[in-house]
């Protein structure tokens, strides 16, 4: 899909190197923010944006993506493989 925004992650202890928010899928339910308010915010279009790509550890980040009711948060590892959603 076209309307995806990518956020690069540079955390030494992390296997996840990229967070992608699909803005067409995002409905602003804000479940990701409930799990990790340090990572995400809503913007003025009511879509999630990443404001702290390195803020959360991998398991919290994974939970934040899994919590999304529209699978709008995608996670990629250092080799560029999608780790969520599978």
């Amino acid at each position: 899909m076209a309307n995806q925004k990518e956020y690069i992650r540079n955390r030494a202890d992390s296997k996840i190197s990229k967070i992608v928010v699909d803005r067409d899928l995002c409905i602003g339910a804000a479940s990701c923010i409930a799990v990790s308010g340090e990572t995400y915010e809503l913007d003025n279009e009511n879509k999630a944006v990443v404001t702290g790509a390195d803020a959360a550890d991998d398991s919290t980040l994974m939970m934040s993506a899994e919590s999304c009711p529209t699978k709008a948060v995608l996670l990629f590892d250092k080799e560029g493989r999608k780790v969520y959603p599978k």
Binding site: L25, I27, L42, E66
Partner: protein, 439 residues
Amino acid sequence: MNQYKYLIIGGGAAGISAAETIRQTDKEGSMAIISDEPHPLYSRVMLSKPNFFLGQIPFEQIYLKSKDWYSTNKIDFLGGKKAVGLNTSENQLTLSDGSSVYYEKLLIATGVDARPWTVKGSDKKGIHYLRNLEDGIGIMEAIKNLEARPRGLASRAITIGGGFISFEMADLLKMAGLETTMILRESYFWEPILDEASGLMLENAMIKAGVKIIKNYEVTEVLGREKVEGVRGEASRPDLEASPRELSCDMIICGIGVVNPIEWLLKNGIATNKGVLTNEFMETNVPNIWSAGDIAEYRDILLEENVQMGNWVSAREQGRIAGLNMVRDSIASSENSVEASNKQAFKFVSFYTTQGFGTSIAFIGDVTPKPDRTIIKRGSPEINSYARFIIAHDEIEGATLINRNLEMTTISKLIESNMKVSEHVKEIEDVNFDLKRLV
């Protein structure tokens, strides 16, 4: 096998979130999820969203877990079965197919049911609810299969009820090209959760998009032979006249609230009120039984009252806390620990958002109107951006936002901090004041 260390009744957001949380700590403990639906976890939220409903994204996108996820995580999925009986002294659950399952730790996360419309004729074909995947598919199919009306006129839909189902469905029905009429028993939209000014903002957005709204109207009969052809009604207030007496339609979508399926729990000592009562640890009054999600009426330690919060985000969080406490309790008892398990309390400001007709709505915390509550207003309908802060005991209990969703997370933090509002009323009222400065 019919005995499990962890048994979860309900395969929705709360149940799955609990299962995920348990598996983070206990990788091997036997676990089963009972669901009255045959599907793996799907997104109930997406059922009423335009991109799914109008087929703009693949249908499969609605599934949040694959069937493999359950087996990979060593979870038995007992789909298409309903829990119908519970014997707490034997730790035994009876299922709708007559079988029995035994548990060590049990989670009741059944969710709630759509309130049935009991008006005369409400058993006719063409009346829809939106509760589960089948309902969503049913509405999509019904719209596709509506018979063409003469001279190319659009088919006609009626929505019953003034809440988020009606709001989201009216948006979808308009997008699908139907002539859409919303019938409200109340005198404005979403009364009494919203004030009249907020309700009228939403009504205006809907009217602008071509939705007809009939207020103060009580349907007394659904017309038609086997299938709905229209409704007949009367004014919901004696001082008004019903207008119109009858209204034709081709389909009806009904969103008039929920009912709590607790009858099966009433004989076995589990404390209930409207829902299943729990403390702040999501524990019921019976040992080894927790509850989470829409059905749980939990002790909210931020609001200092018992509440039910029927939304996705809250269900996920409640499930996580219940799962955590279940697994910790299990570890504590297996180690024969004399110390109490390290319980975690559910402390969460719930929020719910929706969008439609170019308008965004957010509810934060507890927005139920009660006599001891006062309101602080921020913004106004005139600037098409309006928030209400609901105040009790000099603290913010909740807020309703229209076109101000940007402030949602900040307001959640203010509720969580138990900030005394009396010193900050002017700042809250000033739309140019950045609320983040109060956090």
